[in-house]
Amino acid sequence: MSSDVSTGARHDGQASPEPPDRPAAAPPARRRSLAEWRAGFTRFLRTEPLGAVSLVLIALVVLVAVFAPLVAPHDPLLQNRTRITEGPSAQFLLGTDDLGRDVLSRLIYGARSSMLIAVLTTAISLVLGTVFGVVSGYLGRTRDLLIQRVMDTIQSVPPLVLLLFMAVVLTPSIHGTIIALVIVITPSFNRVARAETLRIKEEPYIEAARATGAGALRIMTRHVLPNMMAPLLTMASLLFAGVIIAESALSFLGIGTPPPTPSWGLMLSEGVRYVEMAPWMVIAPGVVLSLAVFAFNLLGDALRDFLDPRLHR
């Protein structure tokens, strides 16, 4: 232990400076320029094949929703009283519903409201819940107390009752549905984010950041947030499915998406009544809904793995 050790790194512990078991030139993982974003995207497609599949599925749904008027074979609202509950045929690929409307066209148009509601609700709740949760957990004290009591209040009311109340207050509309669902779902994200913050707060690297002189805002955004992506993304992909189901419940009760505007949830709840005479009315939206939920779950998992530098590479 006496002499100088300027070449010490070469003998450090188990790994040499250039571990032979992984590629030495790990690509830069900073997110800065457009080129790096593109490189990151390519890497995502390469390392997460399931994620790529889910992206294709989601892109498909989004494209169909955006170009619904071009894709749909019929007017989704056009009723044809002479051709009600017809099975799939060349003219009506997925059959017709109880009012003689084309199920496929309604499905295509329904993607608009369903995707809009599900994506927006999940995204807004994720952001709100996370911000409140991190602030609450990291700053603590009065802020924590206030935020958590508000969340307690929301969660103490049964979700359906709260949704009913909100929907009545806000009158049936898509943005009303989104607001109501956001209020119901935000506390879930908030709890997860707060619990994660309390855990991460005790990590030595947080103290290390404080020691370098970093402020609370910087620590929350640069150190706390990135380390809780895994549970948040999992939570988001689970709740995404929940939102679509909840939207269908609202529509079923006549306070969600106002008929005759089609939405997947609405189609499901209408179709249930005719499941014996026209099963396609349930099966078609059911399958599409499941696929969409599945795709978002896959995407959530893939993103979680992709964003964790400790996995792969």
Binding site: M1, S3, D4, V5, S6, T7, G8, A9, H11, D12, G13, Q14, A15, P17, E18, P19, R22, A24, A25, A26, P27, P28, A29, R30, E203, P204, Y205, E207, A208, A209, R210, A211, T212, G213, A214, G215, R218, R222, H223, P226, N227, L307, D308, P309, R310
Partner: protein
């Protein structure tokens, strides 16, 4: 430089001086937090770190070593006391000034991996102090980070790798590079090598010594491994239950420990050092550390001290500095004779 650090030299202000630092943690019992007591984590600690020197802080787990370091750089707010950093009252500064002082005192932690954010690249980790203190940006920052990595024995190729891709020793080098980023005057090393293999420990210790020589750094070096402290420290503070029980020139304390607790500590070193063997003959350890929420009356060490007598249970000994040697110890046995420990 050769002046005894514990004696008033009057010429040079120490880079860091700590006076009567106290940290009490409230203990809550019952549903409404009444009937509260306090844990005396740090109870009246004073020391100074002369420029370019290393002060070692030793003591067993829970003696308040780590808390002392965190009080000294204000990661934890002291209950009372004073911290003078380069003559400035650290506890009175706020905002911008505090941040400026912070950039001059950095810390190297115990857990090499744990103290690095697993989601950040080496560039972001080492560059963070530069960003926080607005030292450099863009290409200049990349150049500075590369330079820092080379200073600690890593290379620019490691810039965009993540902590988990390094060995423990390399990870600790990253931690050291981060601490060096803002050109600090003082670095607090909190058990900085205790999580490493012995061979790697030696490399890190030598690196720290080299950096001290080249950059004129001062260290507060905390460790429970006495051999490590002996290698690193110019001056030694021995802590027991939140108090400094002995303080003095490192070599002198190791050669001739005054306080019974120091003697016990040194006796506990495994090895074949003759000084240790001597200490072993003198004292035998017994008992456990009492609860810091209910410290013993009088001298806190009396419950375990082989030499305890009545006065020790009644009266707390003061840390008295011998003017001749500059050494200090808090023990009643040393009151009558200023030279020589209990025998």
């Amino acid at each position: 430089m050769s002046a005894e650090p514990t004696v008033e030299t009057g010429q040079e202000t120490p880079i860091l001086e700590v006076r009567d630092l106290v940290k009490h943690y409230p203990v809550r019992r019952g549903a409404f937090g009444r009937g509260a007591g306090v844990v005396r984590a740090v109870d009246g600690v004073s020391f100074r770190i002369p420029r370019g020197r290393t002060v070692g802080l030793v003591g067993e787990s829970g003696s308040g070593k780590s808390t002392t370091a965190r009080l000294a750089n204000r990661l934890v707010e002291p209950t009372s006391g004073q911290v003078l950093f380069d003559g400035a009252d650290l506890l009175a500064t706020r905002g911008r000034e505090l941040k400026a002082l912070r950039s001059r005192m950095q810390m190297v932690f115990q857990d090499p991996y744990g103290s690095l954010n697993p989601r950040m690249t080496v560039f972001d980790i080492v560059g963070e102090p530069l960003e926080v203190h607005g030292v450099s940006r863009g290409r200049a920052r990349t150049a500075r980070v590369t330079e820092l990595l080379e200073t600690v024995g890593l290379s620019g190729r490691d810039l965009y790798r993540f902590p988990h891709q390094f060995s423990g020793g390399q990870a600790q080098r990253i931690g050291i590079a981060r601490a060096l980023a803002t050109n600090p005057d003082v670095i607090f090393c909190d058990e900085s090598v205790s999580a490493l293999d012995v061979s790697v420990q030696a490399q890190i210790l030598n690196l720290l010594k080299r950096l001290q020589r080249e950059l004129g750094l001062s260290y507060l070096f905390i460790a429970h491994d006495l051999n490590v402290v002996r290698y690193m420290a110019d001056e030694l503070c021995v802590m027991y239950m939140g108090e400094i029980v002995e303080r003095g020139d490192s070599d002198a304390v190791f050669a001739d420990p005054r306080h019974p607790y120091t003697q016990l500590l040194l006796a506990a070193i495994p090895g074949h050092d003759p000084a240790t063997a001597k200490a072993k003959d003198r004292a035998v350890a017994r008992g456990e550390v009492p609860s810091p929420s209910a410290p013993p009356s009088g001298c806190r060490f009396h419950t375990r001290c082989p030499f305890a007598f009545e006065r020790c249970t009644a009266e707390a000994p003061r840390l008295r500095t011998s003017p001749a040697t500059g050494r200090a110890a808090a023990c009643h046995l040393l009151d009558d004779t200023s030279e020589g420990g209990p025998s």
